[in-house]
Every structure is written in structure tokens, then in C-alpha cells.
Subunit: 349 residues, 2 copies
């Protein structure tokens, strides 16, 4: 639907080594911890006295992304950002990634170059080095497997399991927009399937579309916390929806919580789209996912540090062990929070 | 063909979190460098003064493995070993892995448990910690994405690019057997497709079948080199076949080489199978791949350290920059070595 017709070089024309050379020729290393990048059996890294964070994510075509509306460059960008977000969620700075790419012959060399261009853009933004990977064929579709390393001083690392009773629950930005963007893309795809002559009608929805297509890992928050001399008591990134992530913090910290509907930040454009689809906007925030904002808890003694900063939203508080996980609605009803489970598996059911 | 009928629990019955809990419930961390394993946004690691090695591999169903003759437990074992081999090839000790698993609904929970059981067996053997990962659905087939970390003292790390003219070329074991095993499995599969009542006839070929199904990463060699006070001048593991790997060492070290057919170690069972399929046994060694032996170069001054050790095979020597990469046959003919390219892409062509 947003197809870009250009030169097509078949993967078989190049072969493995030429392909890897072509995809990685512009990659330069910038991290002091990168001793040797792409090109040997393994990358060589040196983290000195820092602790190392490691995370892996898979993105599977038809499950996590749909190439009928996701440009390949955006896909590469998003795939990296999703991984950097996991490191930010530990209050750490991402430093290196490796990229595993499985592709069917349906994809050209130029298509893979687009994906790499997007990945490099995301790496450039955060000074992350792409230090290795594997490119292979797949019997169908496109799979991206990215692993990310990051570093932090041991005392700065924030886990999910360390929230305390009475801590404030905070988010770093508005929620539900990425899901609103997805709803619009899915609608346009359905319209296009019926009548390919109809052009996409997405004007006025730029914010929610960008939140879906080009999410930003909140690595800036890790720097911001340092400036503010603030260490959250627990943290997670919002990939699956606010409800599911809050439940993670509660379960891992063995606590209950209360959050307030009126405190959940939702952009007006998200509200407009939710109305259009006859969904309650808070449902987009609770169950939508893919916002990649940080959800964290802070001690009440740090209230003054975050209050009135504009960039933080206090949405509730952690309660004693054994208590419920509850949403207080604007009508002052108390509703138990439930995880919507596995977005990956969900879409297959 | 070697199917195992047992209880089948659908993935959808469990959901993401219960599935991950079930797959990872027996995983214990043993490495001093593992501070926090599975269960947060990222694993936390501490490598102190050691350097860190990082590598990633993808294994795709229908490209890298065929479940009609590869039991899932063996697949898990092999997937880990293939990755550990990359760390051994840097003369380093593997310490942690992360596992990305994309599966279609065709697979049951029990099937994934089998894969994990195989992975844990390989991890146990080398005291490697499984510290994280991602499990998601795939639109078709099974994909395994494994990343591995390892450590070494900076002075011990061996790259591909540091061989010197005159260095001896050495391999750590016999070659071509894994490919001979593959030939047998493919033959049995073809027979089974024609007549499913015929039982596999694989007696007497145990060694080559095991080399294909249960390869061993030569991490023991890393310890052995330390005992012998030997640091190879360059090293690579043999995943794609001897010819292709030697060319890597030559290209990265900017050298030529000569190897001798009569020096290449080939097991008698490999010769028997090669004869059966009317293939020259040395072709299995040169182009077969998947042996996961180490190919390395040593300085001539270290000749006495490796000569007559039984466990090492000196097969040739590195020559000056600009010279050919040559095989001297038993008939004393000189043949240029050529890489067979990309086994992943190959099988699709």
C-alpha cells in the first residue's frame, strides 16, 4: 500500500559474504566498550567495572508486524528501539546490539538494506554499536532477532521486584497512542483490500501513527534520572499495555496497587481514534501496548523531585502484600486489573 | 519418522507467563558473572576485568534442520552447541546464553519442553547459564535465535585475522562426518516418504549420525590450550566446511595457504558413507560443514607442543600475502580451494 518500487537485486546474486559486507559496510563502532565489532566468530567487548545488561527480542512477520503498512526502514528502527527500551527499563544505557535476520527469497538485497538503514538510524540516535549477527534464509516471511547489551553502575540498576508498599506509580508519557495508530492502519488495510484505488486517509492522525511506527526507547529518562539524582524503586517498559506491566511489578515485588483512571495520561488524538472505533480510551492505555514508555515506582520521599515536572505522571501507588491490583474509574468504581496476556500469541488465537 | 507420542498441551492453554515459567523452572545459574538471570527486562551480568565475547546464531526449520529426523531434544542441544562453538573459536569460555524461540501452534508445550531439555543438557555440560529470552508465535515453523556471551583474558583472545606467514594449519578432530550423517538421514527420509512401513536402517553408522545430531563445541580445547601454554595465532570453528573456513582465515589474515589431502583427518565411517553415495571423502570434509571442530594456526616455534599429541592434526601451512589457497591432492595435483558459500541460502537455491 505504501510500496516503493526500485532496483531489485536477488539475494542469490550476492551470496552470504558479499551480502553481509554490503549490509554492514557503513557500520562504525563508537562505544569505548566495543573492542572488535562485526567480522569474527564473536564480538569482543570490555565493560571494565560496569555491570552488563543483556536482553533478546524476536519480531516475527505476521505476528508482530505487517509489511503491508510498515515500511522496512521503520521496521528496522522499531526493532532496535524495542530492544533498547528493555535496557532503559533497567535504568541502564544500551551499548551494543547483534542482529539475526531470517528472510525468504521474496526479499531483495535492497529490502534488507532498508531494514539495516532503519536499524542504523536507531543505533545512531543512541550511539549504540551493531557488533554482530547472522543472516540466513527462512522458508517464509521475515524474522528479526535482536540482542542488546547495556551497562550501568551496579547501584543504579533498577529491577521489577524491588517496589515497596506506599511507593508512587509513575509513567514517563502518554499511553494508548501506539494502539490507536495500529487500529487506523488495520482499518486502512481492510479498505485497501476491498478497493486498491482508494488512497489511505490518515491526515490529522500523525501523532498516533508515529507512536505505532516509530516508537522511541526512553533512554533519555535514564540520563534524566541521573541529573535528578533519582533512582526508581522498580521499573519496566510498557510493551504489552499498562495493566499487564503493572501486574508484573506487583507480582515480582509481592505487592498490590491502586491506579486512577483520571491520572492516566492519554493524548487527545488517542481519544479521538478510540471514539471513532467505539473503544474506551483507557482500554487503549491499559491493554494496547507498544507505547515503550517507562512505568516505574518511586519512594514517597522523592515525591518533590518528580511533582510538577510535566514529564512525569503519577498514576497511583503500591499497596501492601496480598492486596488487589485495582483501577479506580472516573465514576469512582473499583475494577480489578487483568493482564491481556500475550500479544504475540493473541493475534494467532 | 522417530515420532514420540505423548501428552499434548496446546500453547494457548498456558499463555505467555505460565509457559515461560514452565520452560524455565529448572534453570539455575552457576556462573559467578550472572547476577540476575531470567525474569526481568534484561539479565544482569558482571565480568569484572575479563573481556566479553558476544555472538548470535539463527536456526530456521526447513533451512538448518529437518524435524522429520531431528528429535527436538537433540535440536535444542545442537542449537546451543553451535553457539558455544563460536565462543570457543575465540579461545574464550562461554558463560551465558539467551534463547529466542518462535513457534507455530503446530508445536505443543511438551515439544518446547523437549527443546529446553536439550538446551539445558548442553548448558549443564559447559556450566553455561540460560539468562533470558523471548518466546513468541510464528506464522510457520520453528525458529531458534540464540545469543551467547563468553569471557577471556584479553591476551588469550584469538581472532581470525592474526595468522602469520609460515604458521601451521591445525584441526582439532576428524572432518566430514556430520555431512555423512546428513546424507544418511536424507536417504532414510526419502525411503520413508515412499514407504512409511520401512524402518530406518542406520546400524553401523552411529558415529557419523551422532556427529550430525549431537555436535560438541570444543570448549575443552580452550582449556587444553591453557594447559599446554599455547595460544593459536588465529582460529575459527568449522561450521560451513573446511574450505570455506580456511578461506576466512586467509582473507582476514591477508595470506595464502597450502593444505594436503593426505593430512586431513577423516573417520573410516565417513569414508564408507562417502563411498556409498559415490562422493570423494575429502569433499565431505572440505564442503560438508557442521563438524564444529576448531581450525587454527600456530607458530612454527610451537610445533613441538602439538606434534604427536594425537588430538591435533597438522594439515598445512599459511603462505605469503597474495599467494593462492591450494589443496595438494594425494595424486600430487594442486587444486584451488573454493568456498561453497552459504549453506543456509544454498539449500533454498
Amino acid at each position: 500500500m505504501f510500496e516503493n518500487r526500485q532496483k531489485r537485486t536477488e539475494l542469490a546474486e550476492l551470496g552470504e559474504f558479499k551480502l553481509i559486507n554490503r549490509l554492514t559496510k557503513n557500520i562504525a563502532n563508537r562505544q569505548k566498550s566495543t573492542i572488535l565489532g562485526i567480522g569474527d566468530d564473536a564480538a569482543i567487548l570490555n565493560f571494565d567495572q560496569q555491570q552488563v545488561l543483556l536482553s533478546t527480542d524476536l519480531l516475527v512477520e505476521g505476528v508482530h508486524f505487517d509489511l503491508s503498512y510498515m515500511p522496512l526502514k521503520h521496521l528496522g528502527y522499531k526493532a532496535v528501539m524495542v530492544n533498547l527500551s528493555d535496557i532503559a527499563a533497567m535504568n541502564a544505557i544500551p551499548t551494543q546490539i547483534t542482529v539475526g535476520l531470517a528472510v525468504s527469497n521474496r526479499f531483495s538485497v535492497e529490502a534488507l538494506e532498508e531494514i539495516y538503514a532503519g536499524m542504523q538510524l536507531a543505533c545512531d540516535k543512541h550511539q549504540v554499536d551493531l557488533v554482530g549477527g547472522d543472516t540466513t534464509s527462512s522458508t517464509s516471511g521475515l524474522i528479526l532477532a535482536i540482542s542488546v547489551l547495556g551497562t550501568a553502575n551496579p547501584k543504579d540498576i533498577v529491577k521489577r521486584s524491588t517496589a515497596k508498599q506506599g511507593d508512587l506509580i509513575v509513567v514517563s508519557g502518554d499511553l494508548g497512542a501506539a494502539y490507536a495508530g495500529l487500529l487506523l492502519f488495520e482499518r486502512e488495510k481492510a479498505i485497501f483490500a476491498k478497493d486498491p484505488t482508494i488512497q489511505p486517509d490518515l491526515a490529522g492522525y500523525e501523532y498516533v501513527l508515529e507512536r505505532q511506527m516509530l516508537p522511541e526507547a526512553r533512554v533519555d529518562m535514564v540520563h534524566r534520572f541521573k541529573e535528578m539524582d533519582l533512582i526508581p524503586t522498580s521499573m519496566i517498559d510498557i510493551s504489552d499495555g499498562l495493566a499487564s506491566e503493572i501486574i508484573h511489578l506487583c507480582e515480582d515485588s509481592l505487592l498490590g496497587c491502586t491506579i486512577y483512571e483520571e491520572k492516566i495520561p492519554i493524548d487527545p488524538q488517542t481519544v479521538t481514534v478510540a471514539d471513532l472505533f467505539k473503544i474506551h480510551p483507557v482500554t487503549c492505555a491499559l491493554n494496547g501496548g507498544e507505547d515503550y514508555e517507562l512505568l516505574f515506582t518511586v519512594s514517597q520521599k522523592d515525591f518533590e523531585k518528580i511533582n510538577g515536572q510535566g514529564e512525569f505522571y503519577i498514576i497511583g501507588h503500591m499497596n501492601e502484600t496480598g492486596s488487589e491490583r485495582t483501577l479506580i474509574t472516573n465514576a469512582n468504581e473499583s475494577i480489578p486489573l487483568t493482564a491481556q496476556g500475550w500479544d504475540g500469541m493473541k493475534k494467532k488465537d
